[in-house]
Every structure is written in C-alpha cells, then in structure tokens.
C-alpha cells in the first residue's frame, strides 16, 4: 500500500492537550507510503468521517490510518466509513494515541514523540495490509438437540415453533428425562407429569421435530452452520413404524421381574417394555440382556402376539446422518453414586451410610418414585425392605455435595428445596409420621423458596438438625442414625424406618466423550463449560454449539427451562439468515512449504486444522500438508508461533505486518 491517508484526531482536547497534533500530522506526512496527513477535532463525528470518505475518493487512498482512540472503541466505525467510500474495510488501521498515549502522559514533548512513533508503527502495518473479504458460511437451517429432558424439550419446542426443523436425540427409550419421574415439584407442589407430559406429546407430534429416541450421538463433523451428525439408533427389536403401542407384548412377556430403570430399581418391568405409561414415543424396546428369545432363542411370545408384526428379533444398531447448523446440548445430570465403590478415583463413597447394604437407605430419586402416584407403589409410601409404612424418616442433605473429602466441593443447589418438599410429601401421606432432616446450611434462594422451607418446618412439622450424620447401622428392624445437632451442641440418635440421601448432582454418564466429540470444554467435574460465565452463559467455545440445563451446572426446573429458552433464542438468531459472516482474520497455511509436522494440529485450541494432501489437478499425490478449516478457525494465531517453517500465517496479523511494525521502532 503506497497511498495511505493518516487522519489524526484531536478528540476535542483529550488528545490535543498533550499531543501536538499539527506537529504530528506534519511529520507523518513525510513517512514513506503516506499520501496525505491531516488532523481534525473529532474524527469519529459525521464531518470527521466525511473527511475520511472524501480523501479516500479524491486521493485514491489504498490504506487508512486513524490516529485517535483504541481500536476497541472505533475501529468498526472507521471500517464502515471506508467501506462506504469503496475501500476494503480491512485496509483501515487505528493508532491508539489516546488511551495509550495522551491520557497516560503529561509531558507534551514526550507524548508528541510517542504519538508519532505509534502512528508510524500503524502506518507500517497498514502498508502491509491486505484487502480481506468476510468469510461467508452457508447455514443449514436445522438444529440438533441432544437430550430429551425438560431442558431439551423446551429448547426443541422453542426452535421448532420459530419455524426451524429440529432433530432431537435421546438415549433412553422415551423422552422426559429426570423430570418425568418426579412426584411433585417445589415450591408449588404441582404434579410433575401433569406439567411435562403435554410438552412431551407436543414434541412427539410436532411437524418440525424429528425424534430419535433410544439413540446416541456417534460422531460430529463440520463446523458452525454446517455440522454433520452421525446418530446411532440402538437396536430396539421393535419396528416403530409398524407398532401401534397396543401393549399386548409387554403384557404377555413372562420375564416381568427386571428392575425398572425409570423407577431406579424400586419397581419391576418386563423384558419388552415402555419405561412409563406416558412415554413418548409410546413404543416398546426389548432389553437384549434379558429377552429369552435373544439370549437362547426361546420364548418369542411377543412376536406371536403382535398383530402388527412389529417385533423384529434380527434388528441391529443403525447409523443415520443428519445435517444441522447448530447444536443444543441438554444432557442433564445423574446422582452421585453413594455406594462404597466409585467410578472415579477422585471420588469417595459413603460406606458409613450403608447404601446398597441396607434396603431402606435410598436416594432422593428413588424416594420420588415411592411417593409418586404413578410409581411402583401407586403413591403409597412403602419402604423397600418389607413394604411397611415408615413412621420415622431421616433425610440427609449434602451427601457428596460441598464435601472436598469426597471429591465434590460444589453445592448441588436443589437438594435443600427437594428435601423440604420430601418432608411435606411424606407428612401428607403419613400423617402420624415424623420427618427428620440433617443439613449443613439451608440454601433456599428463589421465588417462594424460603417460604416453602419454613412451611415444611412450621406447618408440616419436619424436625431439622444442623449437623452431619456419622453412621447408620441396622438394629432389629430399625435403622439407627447417629448424628450431631451442632446448634444444640448434642449428639442425636434417631431410630428410623427409612433413610433418604440427598445425593449430589453430577453430569450424566458419557458427558466427557460427548464433549470431546463436540470439541467443547468440561470443568474438572465434567460439567460443560460456558464461553463466558456472565456474558455468554449458554454459548460454548465452539461456535454453533450451545448448552442448557443441568449438564452445565446443578439447576432446578425453572432455571433449566430458562437456560433452554436462552439457548434456543441464540440458535434462532443463527438460523435466521441463510449465511453466516465471519471475520476474515483467520489463519492460513502455505501448503507448498508446509513440512507436514502437524505441530499446529496438536496446538490448535479449536481443532480447526486437519491433515490434507496436496495433489496435482489430475489427482497425483504431491505431498502431505496441514489445512485450516475457515469455518472453525477463530484467529488466535497460536499455529503461527509453533510452525517451524513459518508456513502458517494469520490474516490481519501476518508476520510481514508484525515484523514491519517492530522494525519501524529501530
């Protein structure tokens, strides 16, 4: 670039007070490549911008340097002005002589000298600028929602209602997630299924939602706007297109004593089953580890009974591919395994509470099923060991949460509330029963939340002890719970019929593998990382991938729904246009000189560089090379630094530019 215009701004007095703008403009005019140099009181004002536009036209400028404030303040402004005058906006540079010069120095001579050097540096950069074109990426106007819990359902319905197609993948046989199994919800005590099942039906019947139940995400390729998702449809052994959901098969199935996943082992189900009566889709699956036909070619009663001929014992996993533009991850949570043995070395169980050893020590989700009207006991609270109605129940909160020794220092956030709810549900079912709660602190921040806890204590008579439980033993038919009441300063021993552990929330199984497939981050506990904790709470660091619900952190239902709607609105913004425009300041590799050591591939934080082959037009192999995917590159330039042959370079901050800038300081 040899016809550069330099426009020095006074910024009223902000710059002109300490920098001699006339002197600077005069000296700058002498610099090589500078065609014109002038100064003006307010460069960013309308008349100021008009001067820039006019000079671009009259002087046929091929580069512009505006010496004024920080590029973070007005680079976009002047790029637009240049574009309006027909100059490529990436030929505009800013010299920051306000924030980094006039505002921090008082000596006029020194500040003027420094301002000149800053401008000279920017002129050198501008001389090596290239006219860049914004990268246009076509957008597939469909979205993928991973996980069919309440967050996934909300996101899918929002996006689909806005007119875009949605693909939903749920690994269980039915959508509904954890919420479908809850009894009542706090703080209103309205029935969970009454709220959720209509939404599930809406998903199942929505013309723009394609539901893959009993399926998992196998592979993710592509980049923002253009993801290719491979979905594994697990063998269901039931042809969903033929099945009418009549239920003859699961009624006839003789293998009825299998612990139900949906009831967390509190109830039983046949080998061919739907998880719960309101399941969506209401189509059964056969558990191949239990079915006598699949194990030893026996039985086969369901096949004989099925009038629709939907049973297919030869079914296999199928891989299908879907193209989407954006992804919402809503994979939810699971409970901390409170048994003695733990899946991870960093976690320690609670052997002292006897979970797994004593039948009447259960976790909170199991309790939900025992008090649910649709649960295995039909809503009558019967304890698992002998079916007796428990007259004394101990609830222990923070089992795993806020416990560094057990490996989970965070608060699971919802346990205080659901434990209060449990005591109320219990009292409403067993009027002469007594609920005891051991807690560390009560955290009931939320609309109507603290009032709810007070109601549990004051109206429903739950007995709260601030303290921990040290041990649970079984003596006779009773569970003896030994703990401390630290407010009273006394040990407490309670003979209980049932103990409910409020186990910590952890991200669902397989989250790390999924995060790896999507190239998004997890924290040390496996919860997915947002792009910025305050300003970008539903975005991830990979463009086009959003998160919602408890896969991000422990959340209650209203929060999960709110986050899902937020993620959905971000997706809608993305899908509103046919094309995405991305900044062209990204990396490129000179494939002729690339030594194919692939250090850049290991280094790139965005997995934006791939191995590729350089071939002649006729297809003959020439050499291996690294290649940048412009859809994924975010322009950090880390590849440039590690490239030994300097074949990688970063548009907008090329080596040529940076060296020219440094050399201007000689």
């Amino acid at each position: 670039m040899s016809r550069i215009g330099v426009f020095t701004c006074w910024c009223g007095e902000n710059i002109a007070r300490t920098v001699d703008v006339d002197e600077v403009a005069k000296r700058v005019a002498e610099l090589p490549g500078v065609r014109c140099s002038l100064n003006y009181k307010y460069m960013c004002s309308d008349p100021g911008q008009a001067i820039v536009r006019e000079k671009i036209a009259t002087e046929k400028l091929d580069g512009v340097v505006v010496a004024s404030c920080s590029p973070h303040m007005h680079l976009k402004t002047f790029r637009k002005a240049a574009q309006a005058a027909g100059l490529n906006p990436y030929l505009v540079e800013m010299a920051n002589i306000r924030e980094q010069c006039s505002w921090v120095h008082h000596d006029r001579v020194q500040a003027t000298a420094k301002a000149f050097e800053i401008i000279r540096l920017s002129v050198e950069k501008a001389r090596n600028d290239a006219a860049l074109q914004p990268i246009r990426v076509p957008v597939t106007r469909r979205a993928l929602v991973i996980g069919g819990g309440v967050a996934g359902i909300q996101a899918a319905l929002d996006i689909a209602d806005a007119g875009h197609e949605v693909v939903m993948v749920e690994r269980e046989p039915s959508i509904g997630g954890k919420m479908a199994g809850l009894s009542e919800t706090f703080p209103t005590l309205d029935c969970s299924q009454c709220i959720l099942t209509p939404r599930m039906v809406e998903v199942g019947q929505h013309p723009r939602i394609k539901l893959y139940s009993y399926s998992e995400v196998e592979k993710v390729e592509g980049f923002v706007g253009n993801f290719r998702i491979t979905i594994r449809q697990k063998a269901r052994y039931v042809d969903v297109s033929k099945c009418t959901g009549c239920g003859e098969c699961w009624i006839i199935c003789p293998l009825k004593r299998n612990p139900s996943e949906f009831d967390y082992g509190m109830g039983m189900r046949p080998a061919i089953y739907i998880p719960f009566p309101q399941a969506v889709p209401a189509r059964p699956v056969i558990d191949k580890s239990q079915c006598a036909k699949l194990i030893r070619n026996g039985c086969g009663l369901c096949e004989k009974k099925c009038k629709a001929e939907a049973i297919n014992f030869k079914d296999e996993d199928r891989l299908v591919e879907e193209a989407v533009g954006a992804v919402v991850v809503a994979t939810g949570y699971k409970l901390y395994s409170i048994a003695k043995s733990q899946p991870k070395a960093t976690l320690a169980g609670y052997g002292e509470y006897g979970y797994g050893k004593y039948k009447d020590v259960i976790d909170s989700l199991q309790f939900e099923r025992l008090v649910s009207a649709s649960g295995p006991t039909g809503g009558v609270l019967k304890r698992p060991s002998d079916g007796a109605i428990p007259k004394s129940v101990v609830f222990i909160s923070c089992v795993g949460s806020r416990d560094n020794a057990k490996g989970l220092p965070y608060c699971s956030k919802i346990c205080c509330m659901y434990t209060a709810k449990h005591t109320m549900l219990y009292k409403h079912k067993v009027h002469d029963g007594q609920a005891h709660v051991f807690y560390m602190d009560i955290r009931a921040g939320g609309k109507g939340y603290d009032e709810f806890v007070r109601r549990a204590i004051e109206q429903d008579g739950a007995q709260y002890y601030r303290g921990r439980v040290s041990k649970i033993t079984q003596e006779g038919g009773k569970l003896v719970v030994r703990g401390a009441d630290t407010l009273a300063g006394m040990p407490v021993t309670i003979e209980a019929d049932l103990v409910v552990l409020a186990a910590a929330m952890r991200p669902a199984d397989g989250i790390e593998e999924l995060a790896q497939k999507l190239n998004i981050g997890c924290d040390e506990f496996g919860f997915l990382l947002e792009s910025h904790p305050k300003l970008r709470p539903v975005e991830t660091n990979t463009a086009g991938i959003f998160i919602a619900g408890a896969c991000h952190s422990p959340k209650d239902i209203p929060e999960a729904v709110a986050q899902a709607s937020a993620a959905a609105s971000k997706v809608q913004v993305m899908l509103a246009a046919d094309e995405l425009t991305r900044e062209p300041e990204i990396a490129a590799i000179n494939e002729q000189t690339c030594a194919a050591c692939f250090t850049c591939i290991r280094t790139c934080p965005y997995h934006a560089i791939d191995r590729a082959e350089l071939r002649t037009p006729r297809g003959a192999f020439i050499k291996n090379t690294a290649r940048v995917n412009p859809g994924l590159c975010m322009g950090c330039g880390t590849c440039v630094s590690v490239c030994p042959s300097k074949s990688a370079d970063l548009q907008g901050f090329t080596d040529q530019q940076v060296y020219a800038m440094v050399e201007s300081l000689a």
């Binding site: 980094q100 010069c101 505002w103 921090v104 194919a596 030994p644 300097k646 080596d655 020219a660 050399e663």
Partner: protein, 432 residues
Amino acid sequence: MSKAQEFEPKIVAYVCNWCTYLGADLAGTARLEYPPNVRIIRLPCTGRIDFNLIIKALEVGADGVLVSGCHPGDCHYTAGNYHARRRWILFRELLDTLGIDLRRIQFTWISAAEGRKWQQVVTEFTDQTRKLGPYKELYATGPFPDVPAPETASPGVKSFAAESELREVCGKLLAEGTVKVVIGYGARGPVVVTRAEDAERLVWNNRCFSNLTAYLKRKEIKSLGKAAVIVKPCDEKSLVELEKEAQFERKDAHVIGMACEGVDQPKCAHCTARTPRFADVTLGVEAGPEPQTSPSPNRFAALMAMPPAERMAFWTEEFNRCVKCYACRQVCPMCYCERCIVDKNRPIAIDPAPSTKGNFAWHIARAFHLAGRCVGCGECSRACPAGIDLALLNISLHIAAQKNFGYEAGIDPKAEPVIGSYTLHDTEAFIR
C-alpha cells in the same frame, strides 16, 4: 546529570488484544500515568507471540521486552496462553544459556480489569531497565572466555566384529528385494547402496558416528523405494520423534539396529543406550566402556557456571565464526522443513547474512526449533566446519524439557511432544 542526558530505555511490549491491550486502555481511561517509553504491539493472543519476535525486538535496539496476556483460564481463545507459557519456559532457559540478561524480558499476565497492574508493571520495568542501562552486553565485543573442550582422541580405525554380518544381511535384503536401498556407513562416511554386490562397501567401525536417519528425509532417496537404514541405539531415538511428527512411518523403512560399542565421540562417554529397541533386526553385541555416571555433560556445566555476561561473550565469539553454511541444519535428522525459516524472505525473520545479529538469530531459531525434539546425536557440533559446539545449546533445552515437563526426546513413542501440548500446572514462577 540533567534530565535531557539521562538514558531513556526503549521498551517493546507484545500484548494480547483481549486482556492486556484492554488493561492498557483501562489505564488510559483511568488516567493512570506511566513512563512513555513503551511501544505496544497488539496481537490477537499470547499464543501468536513467536519467540522470533522477542529476538527481533532486541535486534532493533529494545532495551527491554514486555510480553503480556490473559491470566491462565481467561484466554479468549481458551488455551493460547497455556501454549505460550510452555514455550516461554523453554525459551527462557535457552536465553539464559546464551547469557541474554533475563531481567530485560518481562512476562506478565494482565487482565482487562488490571489497568493499575499495567501502570505498575510498565513503570517498574521501565525504571529497572533504565537502571540496567542500554543493552550493550548483547552481542558482546570481548574479551571472549573459553569453555574447555573435551579431549577428542582420534584413534585409528577399529572394525567391529558385526561388520561381516552386516554386509551379509544388507546384501541379502537387496538381493531379495526386501529393500531397494541401504543407507549405511562406508570407508569415508555415509554411503547409499542399491546393489547387493555393493554391500561389501559397508563398514561398521568406531568411525561410524553419523546419524543416518537424516538421509531418510531426502526426496532422491525416498524415490528409490523402501530403504533399510543402519542405526545405532542413539540414532534410533530420532526415528521415535520423526514418527510422532508424521515424517516417518515404521512400515516404510527396514531398521537395522547395531548393538553399539561406542564410536569414539564425546557423547559416547555418557551414553547409556547400547542396544536398539525398535529395530527390525539387531546385529552385534553391546560392549564398550561403562558409561560415565556424571549427570550432565561437563562442558555445559562449565558454561553455566559462568556469569551471564561471560556466556554472552563466549557465544558471541562462537557465533562470529559461523559462516552460515547450514551444515548443522542439513545434518540434523530433526530438521526436515523443505523451506527453512531462514530461507523465507517475506518477511525476513532472520538476517541470512553471516552477521553477528543474523548468526545469533539463526542459532537461537535452530536450537529452539529443536526444543523437546533434539535426541542428542551431536551431529550439528560434529558437522560444523567452524567448530562451534552447537550441541551445547540443544543440551540446555533438553535439560529444560526434562526438568519442567519430564520429557525426553526419543524415549517414549507415546509421550506427548513438549511443543503443542500443555498442562494447567506448567510453572509460571517467572511470570508476574
């Protein structure tokens, strides 16, 4: 001294766009005054700040260089600063070995909210640099101290027992067509043998010191077909690294490993690798003197015992002898770029002329490109016609990689290379 005469240092600051540049902007918004000596160069990320840029800043006369970016965990690009931190750890060790005054290079993390920290860092760094004075010690003018070189005996040629077996095996490989070419040692140095009858030209003796894996990268050898390469246990390490860098596939070469009796090189005194580990066939028996147990090579210890200014003087004299023949590069098994950084002319990162500055820049780049990759074959030192002990620089990075990251090149084929990886716990004791 009047104010006009007082020395004012030149400070070049490389800062990332998202944290430190905004921190400096905030210092402006808050009107926090600091000395006007600093010149800021804005780059997107600390990950983009190449070590060559630090050298370039010193070349253009900077008395101090400031490098600053986002705190760990805050990187706009998630991990650019972690990659940068890892390179800085190694680069500082190299600079220290060269005797470059580390007080003149300041690394910091300054966030967008830390306008005051920017003010403090710039003020203190400028004051400190002003006190240190102009950076005259860079490219010292003498006197030049010496580091005693190890005694190199030049005994006569002593053939090893496995020589005839080697000829037999290679002849057979060629005759049967298992390989098309054998890269081996001849009476006067490396030879490339393509005919079975020429296998008689191969020798195996105490003068077989070249690392022949360097020839695998040659296009003209690749074009001949599958090659057999004769490696000593020490040379074999380069194959491990080359495979990690996708330059070599095990199936493409037939590796003939020689159990080693020592080849009368300085490195042999400390060598513990006597038997090849990955060879297709191993010939000979390991023998030779017991390795000396002293942990680090003595010459390097003697160098590091000198004060930095003397080290700088030592290297200045060494590098002044360099004629930029690039024998060190050509002979290195790990230098395989088809276009070397020094051959790139837009921009010229390294002055290609054999000038003091250009020689420093070249040898820094050569050594740093080998960080965590050099297998210590010592061919660079042996090939240098000017007798510059280049392996000394490689040793400093070898030790740095081992000390900081527990990495030793050429040992574990599965270990992640030092450059291009990072951990959250990499040391940052030197970062303000």
